[in-house]
Amino acid sequence: MTKEYRKLSSMPSLAPRIDRRRFLALLGLFWVAPLVWAQGTGMTPIPSRPPAPVLQLKDSDDQLIDLAQYRGRVVLVNFWATWCPPCRQEFPSLGRVRERFPPGTFEVIAVNVGEEVETAFPFTGSTPFPVVFDNEAKTLAAWSVRGLPTTFLVDRQGHLAFQATGGREFDAADIVVIIEQLLNH
């Protein structure tokens, strides 16, 4: 067997035929694809852009945050919980995307579902955007949330424009482009 192997590998006519790049590409196609599906991609347009439901919830300082006060800005509304793995994974990207745009043009509101401030705060720490608390999960029905995390983009006129279910990296190019388009309308 060893002898046969040596014989084969020493055959110069066979060596160039081993297309390693093609093999590695094929290997990568099958092997890497399952490894990189962690987060979803893009956001889905919402037909007819209905008005965003009411969102009035308190933050950890007991300050009332009202979505309506952000009219004129594009707002990303993210429903999440600390026990939700994709929520935790995407959470840092909320801060990163928030800081990509000038103040007063784009805002992020993270809506914690069903947890107390004491539970969520050790995870969030201080954030460059408001984190509000829906302890009784009452907003989920109005917002037609079917699973966590779910994220909406609200346009400058206060309409639901895009939606994503499942984790995302919100500073990914495909989502930043969508936000830029909404800012220009």
Binding site: F30, A33, W37, Q39, C84
Partner: protein, 187 residues
């Protein structure tokens, strides 16, 4: 020719590894998926969940160990589905089933059914909210790029090894994606 044969064999091994679920895939938040299947742009993954892990998870969110016991002792999984296609898909958990080694078909318990149990047991509302949203929902809609994960339980214990069969609806009709050679968590 022989070298090409080896190359083809190696690719086939990798491909079958992915397709049959004998593959360990890394997903969100460092989760290692022990079972993984792909059908076109749809991927389906599952991990068995043990009794102790589920008791710990839900007692930390307001259940008593006694209240969560009926759920935690069931054969359960954490599952995830992702749509990398260009068309939306829908799932109805009531259509999903396990088929065990004897050919017996076993349905999945629905989150709504569990919630009725929690109401009877007077489980506190925050615990019920955490439970409700930690489950893979009875009805799911996956737009292109969406993915959803959640917990599921089987209505009764299957004889191992068994298959999990997850039908979904796309623009072509009803499709099925299958995870093979599953077992319940050992505890």
């Amino acid at each position: 020719m022989i070298t090409r044969f080896f190359v083809v064999c190696r690719c086939l091994v990798v491909f079958l590894g992915c397709a049959t679920g004998a593959f360990v895939a890394n997903a969100a938040d460092g989760i290692l998926w022990l079972h993984h299947a792909q059908r076109g742009p749809i991927t389906f993954s599952a991990n068995p969940q043990g009794q102790d892990a589920r008791v710990a998870f839900f007692t930390a969110r307001g259940f008593t160990a006694e209240a969560i016991h009926p759920y935690a002792q069931r054969c359960g999984f954490s599952v995830a589905m992702k749509n990398d296609g260009h068309a939306a898909i829908h799932t109805h958990l009531a259509d999903w089933r396990a088929i065990d080694a004897t050919g017996r078909q076993i349905a999945f318990s629905l989150p709504e059914d569990w919630d009725q149990e929690w109401a009877k047991a007077e489980v506190p509302q925050p615990a019920r909210i955490a439970f409700r949203w930690a489950q893979f929902q009875s009805e799911n809609h996956f737009a292109p790029g969406d993915w959803i994960m959640g917990m599921v339980t089987l209505a009764s214990e299957p004889l191992a090894p068994f298959q999990l069969i997850a039908p979904y609806h796309d623009d072509q009709g009803v499709q099925e994606i299958v995870l093979d050679a599953l077992t319940c968590a050992p505890d």
